[in-house]
């Protein structure tokens, strides 16, 4: 009888542990994937950005340069924090083999234009009204920034407001750590 009691208690205990493990996995598991983009290490999805000045920029035309693609919106407070940092970094890198692109998402043109006027944005800024570029890059919020090396491969995704040091670090990485071998592309 005593053995039966021990076995039944053990079975119930193991069952409880299993249920708690499942709940724990459901709540805390697998979240890292959202922060680390699955696109890092792959060829950046190409896009043609319609700029606010009426011209267009095609990402693939910028091959040979490291590219910083920053997703932003005028209503986004952290975007306002990073805007001056982006502007001063662009001034620093604009004559080097580096390009900056701002992609405005989930916004309207009037607000976006007044934002650019107020917070800077001397580098090309354009709009993504259908959200196609944002979803192509796996953007889940703003600000989000992608660093692309001169071969066109994504080297890093950064979520949250940037500062000069972060930009230097990831642009340095994009400029230094690239090779033309093994470049693969995700399906569009």
């Amino acid at each position: 009888m005593k053995i039966l009691s021990i076995v039944s208690r053990l079975a119930i205990f193991v069952a409880i542990i299993l249920v708690l493990s499942i709940m724990g996995y459901a709540i805390f598991g697998n979240r890292i994937i959202i922060k680390k983009s699955p696109l890092v290490g792959y060829e950046a999805p190409d896009f043609t950005l319609a700029l606010f000045d009426g011209s267009t920029v095609k990402l693939s035309d910028l091959k040979g340069k490291a590219v910083l693609v920053n997703f932003w919106a005028s209503w986004c407070i952290p975007c306002r924090d990073e805007a001056p940092e982006l502007e001063s970094s662009w001034m620093k890198y604009k004559n080097k083999q580096v390009a900056f692109l701002g992609v405005n998402i989930w916004d309207d043109d009037a607000n976006a234009l007044s934002y650019i006027k107020k917070y800077g944005g001397g580098y090309p800024n354009g709009k993504d009204p259908e959200g196609q570029i944002g979803v192509d890059y796996g953007v889940a919020g703003v600000p989000e920034t992608y660093f692309i090396d001169p071969t066109g491969r994504i080297t890093e995704k950064y979520t949250g407001p940037l500062n000069g040091e972060i930009i230097d670090f990831y642009l340095g990485k994009a400029l230094l750590n690239h090779d033309t071998d093994g470049l693969t592309q995700k399906d569009n």
């Binding site: 039944s8 249920v19 499942i22 459901a26 697998n30 796996g138 995700k186």
Partner: protein
């Protein structure tokens, strides 16, 4: 003249039939795209929401995703290809159901194992309780010993003597 009139009538009827067929086909195609888009939207979780699928969420991102799903279906892409497109960009956590592979296998096996083990535990517990109750009943029905029988006989005899 009459022949020409009947020819025109036949032409009109045939044209109407062709037009009706085309309209009904285009409606059914649009309905099937709507159904498939809805199905895919329910299979994907909104990356910026808590426990809401792309179909249920009103966020800007979910709206963009629904529109992209529809565009891709209209372009003739398969359900699997569309789902893979989103997984490639947002990771497997975007799936509303865990894929049956790797660590996720545990999510499919553990609940069944928990039910079996819980069942065994409860079964054993009930079995044990029943055994204890049975034991208690048996204790109440213990056979009288020889001494008890002799004692009871003496009691009977004394009672009969008292009656006299």
């Amino acid at each position: 003249m009459l022949k020409d009139k009947s020819k025109i009538q036949v032409f009109i009827v045939l044209s109407l039939i062709i037009l009706a067929t085309l309209i009904s086909k285009s409606f059914s195609l649009s309905e099937s795209i709507d159904d498939e888009a809805r199905e895919i939207s329910y299979l994907l979780m909104c990356p910026v929401c808590q426990g809401q699928s792309v179909a249920e969420s009103n966020s800007d991102l979910a709206k963009d995703m629904r529109s992209i799903i529809r565009q891709k279906l209209e372009a003739g892409e398969s359900k699997e290809k569309i789902i893979n497109y989103f997984v490639d960009r947002y990771g497997e956590s975007i799936l509303g159901y865990p894929p049956v592979k790797g660590v996720n296998l545990l999510l499919w096996i553990l609940p069944a194992l928990a039910v079996v083990l819980g069942g065994i535990g409860i079964g054993l517990f009930l079995h044990r309780s029943k055994a204890i109750t049975g034991q208690e009943i048996n204790i109440g029905k213990v056979e009288n010993t020889k001494e008890d029988k002799e004692y009871l006989k003496m009691v009977d005899k004394d009672l009969k003597d008292l009656d006299k």
